[in-house]
């Protein structure tokens, strides 16, 4: 499935849009990490929690559930929050 990568993480992927496989959001992130080592830890902490300011959308709907089931036709959008300073 398509996964859209936010700008701060494109140092890992080299591009805005990549392909990843998995039947859940957790599995897709694991596949991303397999392809681009280290990328998952920048979004998910060591207790498997989504880091603050990182948001996940599946087909346009935000989800906070890593176990959310996914189909191969789904599109995952990873977004960095706009807060900063």
């Amino acid at each position: 499935m398509n996964v859209l990568i936010p700008a701060p993480l494109r140092s890992y992927t080299g591009q805005r849009q990549v392909e990843a496989n998995g039947t859940s959001l957790a599995a897709v992130l694991a596949d991303l990490d397999r392809q681009y080592p280290g990328i998952r830890f920048r979004m998910i902490d060591e207790q498997d929690r989504m880091r603050p300011h990182v948001r996940f959308f599946v087909n346009g709907a935000q989800t906070f559930d890593l176990s959310r089931p996914l189909r191969s036709t789904d599109e995952v959008l990873i977004v960095q929050a706009l807060s900063g300073g």
Binding site: P8, G38, M43, D45, P52, H53, V54
Partner: protein, 410 residues
């Protein structure tokens, strides 16, 4: 004006009290002179990192940067064992923390394959997550690929492959007693509690120290298998229980390379010195001028003279402005182990300069005379070629400076 404080009455009976320190021979104790070595000043800032390369005179500096523009870089350290490997503790604002590594003095960087991260908590427990790596210390000279890292929240980690992978070290991260002393994130500094001041005794890789902002100073003589608090003599803010290490707030601890049995500490409640095998700190900051006080963040020690150390006092009165007392920034130096202190501010602004210098943002090189360097949160980098007698600004308009280190190049 220093806050009112209460002295810690607890004298800890420690393994180290019984330990007979290895008496280093003169040849072992005297550090190798670095007269004339080129110096590179390593600047970690809120928005990236810079390297400032000095010429042989240390009068002219060439800027190399920014590296990691936009990333929060908490610490940038040159490996003294090879003079070219750099580790940078970094976090991009909204992303998780990591460590970057360069083996060519910053020309290229690779990210750690496994940055410092706490162990997965058992099912049902919340577990902690490393917010950022705060402090990096190269391992002993006999362990060329070893590094230590201190994190926020407080955690201690070690790498045995030059910073590529990191593991929790020594068990304190999950030890119930240490977790109590660490407190919670509410007990820490404005951007989280820190484990810092990781020290490796140059005589013995098994002899280690670390400190925590909230949690005190700790020592191991067995390579981290066991740890003992070293808190006797330290004061805490009035009203707190000094027997509870959670209320101890060391800001920066340094070991004297020329006499590894002596350490200096800038604490939330004063400047201290300890001479091992004693386990009791002595508050040597009481001889600082009263109008200045002995509150501050950084502590820098002379590489060859254990009686000489420098501090950069800040205003610790009322709401703790943490700025230069009276708007008059100054370093202070002792050349007699803290018996007396002299102001070292020639060249610095004489007023209306409300500076903050963070605990890692002041350093010394190993040349003769010693060069000193400090960076402010307002983005200025200053240096002295003569041990603080005269200061010159090297750079301005940098982002908020978090850490300054001085590396010696071959």
């Amino acid at each position: 004006m220093a806050p009112t404080t209460k002295k810690s009455a607890k004298k800890s009976a420690t393994k180290s009290a019984a330990r007979t320190p290895r008496v280093a021979t003169h040849a072992q104790a005297k550090p190798r002179s670095k007269q004339g070595s080129r110096v590179v000043v390593l600047i970690a800032t809120r928005k990236g990192a810079w390297l400032y390369h000095g010429d042989a005179t240390r009068k002219n500096w060439r800027s190399d940067g920014p590296h990691f523009l936009g990333h929060i870089v908490n610490h940038l350290v040159l490996d003294p064992r090879d003079g070219r490997t750099l580790l940078a503790a970094a976090k991009t604002g909204h992303l998780g923390p990591t460590v970057f590594r360069s083996t060519d003095l910053g020309r290229s960087w690779k990210e750690a394959e496994r940055p410092p991260a706490f162990a997965r908590a058992p099912g049902g427990e919340a577990g902690r997550a490393v917010d950022h790596t705060f402090w990096l210390t190269p391992g002993h000279a006999s362990e060329p690929n070893a590094w230590y890292a201190g994190t926020s929240p407080q955690g201690l980690f070690r790498s045995d492959d030059g910073g590529v992978t990191w593991e929790p070290f020594s068990g304190i991260n999950e030890d119930p007693q240490y977790r109590k002393w660490m407190g919670t994130v509410q007990d820490g500094t404005p951007d989280g509690p820190k484990l810092h001041s990781i020290i490796v005794d140059p005589r013995d890789p098994a002899h280690l120290y670390f400190a925590m902002s909230g949690g005190g100073v700790h020592e191991s003589v067995d390579r981290g298998q066991t740890w003992t608090p070293i808190g006797a003599g330290l004061e805490v803010v009035d009203g707190f229980d000094s027997s509870n290490l959670a209320f101890h707030d060391p800001h920066c601890v340094r070991l004297c390379p020329s006499n590894p049995d002596r350490l200096y500490q800038q604490n939330h409640c004063g400047i201290y010195r300890i001479d091992r095998p004693s386990n009791e700190w002595v508050r040597v900051g009481r001889s600082m001028p009263k109008r200045v006080g002995d509150i501050g963040f950084p502590m820098v020690v002379h590489p060859r003279h254990a009686d000489t150390a420098w501090v950069f006092p800040m205003d610790g009165s009322t709401v703790w402005p943490r700025t230069s007392p009276g708007g008059m920034p100054a370093a202070y130096v002792t050349r007699n182990g803290g018996k007396t202190w002299q102001r070292a501010a020639a060249g610095l602004p004489e007023g209306d300069a409300w500076w903050t210098v963070k605990r890692q943002a002041m350093a010394a090189d190993g040349n003769d005379p010693v060069g000193l360097y400090f960076g402010t949160t307002s983005g200025e980098l200053w240096s002295s070629r003569d041990e603080g007698r005269q200061w010159t600004r090297i750079a301005e308009h940098l982002p908020e400076i978090y850490a300054v280190e001085a590396g010696q190049l071959s």
